[in-house]
Symmetry: D2
Subunit: 287 residues, 4 copies
């Protein structure tokens, strides 16, 4: 289905030290790879943390992958104690999209996916409601309705985990209006990306547009972030804002905000699918 | 000093009711004024609050002002119970600028003033330090050094009030790093505009750029607001943001933020000097 | 289908003169209307052009409309020689959407329409291809395929005019890739709004994203404008831009540009449907 | 004057080929340098052009520089046929600022320089007028008045070249209102950066704000670019825009535009001083 493109990405992170870039590029070149782009960030030139993303071309990447990994393991893992991962861009990320009743983020992601903006396979659309089944159907992606009844969230999460098991690389909450438990996050074993309908850390929690209206703010925003147990506190991936004024009602803010939400979430998902996001404690490096 | 321009502004606010616009425009026209622009906002079409700003031309405005005010008082004040004020644009706002050591906001306001962007007279530059005396001198505006010694803020504020008494229409805090007491605000009797170096209500208080860095935000902002006793809670006048990334250090955020701060504060001061801002409880109407 | 809301808009334009605002608001108030918002713009306070948009509440507007129009005709039309129009907001604008193969603008408008952002009735979706029939079907709006064969545009335009005749208030070109003739524009008798995929007047004509890439621009934009016989020269309604860099290929620019195109076109259509746009020669007043 | 920081930048560009990154990083590491950040861009993975900027730490860089350059010359210059340059960040760029009567760009650059934003030495401020002498004086930078009399531009340019000879790395036109001849550009032998007061390629040439007003645009912009003989056609470095409306007069556009001009020029100068700009034919790579 996904023919080999001969294009790979190498991600490296860990404690900074002299010579890492030379070692990484030396290994890639030694195996015949041609580095197309390379981004590197050190938080501090002494004792900081090191982050690198390299994109390279290598004919017959699939066949040569094992040999390359042996060297990466020895040099990066054992010698420098770094984390690394090798990605064949022929293998798109497998994504589960969670939604509830609001359609703008889901519709936008499915539309972008179909037009080829987002290098991902949509494994599942999951919803606690049936309102958005038509959207999935229209875009030919499987829709699973898992209701979340009051007091029975644990059962719903069990059903979700059953579905996700081994089939996805990331869960994207496209305005999914349920809070996921810490147990779910631990068991899922993959990153979960959320779109919060405000400019975090302003207006955490519910009803941010109403709060923004009451506060008289002149801009409303949206924040895409990784989900952690501390609600609304996960590492921020992307943010943007839109200008509003006293003439906008709370409903107007909701509508204008929706434009920012879908744009910010789409940018975050694209960055994830292109392996541009690296977590750095409570924050992120986004190449 | 300021010749009559024959241009005036009429500001009206209060409880909404039918016919107010017709009455206001009828009075102006009846006195020979030609309305150049008119902005009106009602918070709700039934029982809401009414805000209006009209700009008009009227030859010999100074001479005709008394007669006009008699009618405004009777029709708007007595009949409709509205607040109103009549402004001759020939009379610029009298402004006191408070600063400490950081020069960017002060320099920017003085520069804009000199090039004719801001219709104001700068009555005083007041500082608790002497670092910025040269800026005032360079732009030919009076500089007063009022130190604020630890534990003796009351005396400093008394000196400030003495200076301001009857000489200003607004106090602008151009990165003035002292908190003004409620007593000062009450005694000053004029609005006080502050620039907060963050996107309120995110990162209230001190060191917002450091907090923003730690939180991994992708935008940093600034907020101009009226000062109230509740620090960082006054009605918001203007806000803006600038994009940042993981490559920016806290110092970089401070520098980028300074560009937003001076722009946002300048816009707020301009709006004030042009009578575009009307307070509406905890928020503002900015025409 | 559209119950009377008792809410109307009055649009007035023409040669400026003293007393117009008072007369307009006097008539409205005299008929029992309560003005909710009023925007007015004069290009020059002496001998300029006058533009006004008033929104008002008036119970039983439909029943009282005739009487109101008699006064407006006499006072505004005959006395001041102004153009005016009275709109009952219960009557949404009737819109024809023209598209070709690209779906982003069409999909976005249909989606915004369904969620209640755009006060319009979609009378027709017209396309010279069948690719987008599914979109119309999905959103339950009538789709008409009118192919435009080489050398036979005149016949196609005749068929389009036949369809539009008396059924629409505006034609919106949602990335319709055919140039409409001057004859069509004259015969249509309604405004035609286009989205040009560049920041006009830069990059007029075809392939603007390729030209932008070659020119090394750091922002790409989109422009919504009224269509006139002079291609790409009609009055501009709305514009916006998005940041790009050397890492973006022409294809990336096309994708990023699509986000701006749909946003800018949606804003222009919304402004039109809310009667916020008034033409002023080669430019526009957008309240 | 500038103590050794032990921090260097290596810039490499030319025809792309396999292994360049590994060779570059290998040389740096071999000489004991620790790479802090590395940006690389290839225009095409086969037969494209290669651009790289590496920032590194190397104790006693000044002492080790010669040895490092020998290797760079052999490996990059001779083996790969690449252009390269090695920069010690302890040596700031030497800059000449050209201005005429408008102060906003000059003042902004001098102010940013003094607060430490711009790693440069200002060798000269040159003007064809004396209006801005005070600004230079205030910021303690040498001001040279070189009048440009009608028909005697050649003499003025000779005087300018005399002054610049061997003393600057770049000339920045901070709203300098004279067109520099091709002979000047050739003789100067250093890049010349200009700020054009419009969003190029829209509104080339004079009076762009008046043209923008007539055209009814909703955004006005500014463009920083390298100066070439084809006026307004040089490679674009940076651009930005600001929103305007029908209420803004041409004078208002000039004022709002000035805010964008000084910001865009400052960003371009900063990028130059940090060696982030690499020319790529008619365009630029800005890391």
């Amino acid at each position: 289905m996904h023919p080999t493109t001969g294009k790979g990405r190498l991600l490296v992170s860990g404690k900074d030290g002299p010579g890492i870039v030379a070692v990484v590029s030396g290994i890639l070149t030694g195996h015949g790879a041609n580095i197309v782009s390379l981004d590197q960030h050190s938080t501090d030139h002494e004792g900081g943390r090191f982050f690198q993303r390299a994109v390279f071309h290598l004919d017959e990447l699939a066949a040569r992958r094992d040999a390359l990994e042996v060297d990466l393991h020895r040099e990066l893992g054992e010698r420098f104690g770094l984390r690394w991962s090798l990605v064949d861009t022929a293998t798109p990320k497998r994504v589960a999209l969670f939604a509830s009743k609001l359609d703008h983020c889901l519709l936008d992601l499915l539309w972008r996916h179909r037009r080829g903006e987002l290098p991902m396979d949509i494994a599942h659309v999951v919803s606690n409601h049936t309102d958005l089944a038509w959207v999935s159907e229209r875009f030919d992606v499987p829709f699973t309705h898992i209701p979340v009844e009051k007091g029975r969230k644990q059962e719903a999460e069990a059903a979700q985990l059953d579905l996700l098991k081994g089939t996805v690389d990331v869960v994207v909450l496209a305005r999914y209006m349920q809070i996921l438990s810490g147990d779910f996050l631990a068991a899922a074993g993959v990153p979960v990306i959320n779109i919060h309908h405000s400019f975090l850390p302003a207006f955490v929690g519910a009803a941010p547009y109403r709060k923004a209206k009451e506060r008289g703010v002149k801009l409303v925003g949206a924040t895409a972030h990784f989900v952690t147990e501390d609600l609304d506190e996960g590492p921020i991936i992307e943010q943007d804002v839109v200008r509003v004024s006293h003439t906008d009602s709370t409903e107007d803010l909701v509508r204008r905000g929706a434009d920012v939400e879908r744009l910010v979430l789409a940018r975050a998902v694209q960055a994830f699918c292109e392996d541009r996001i690296m977590r750095d404690g409570t924050t992120t490096v986004v190449f």
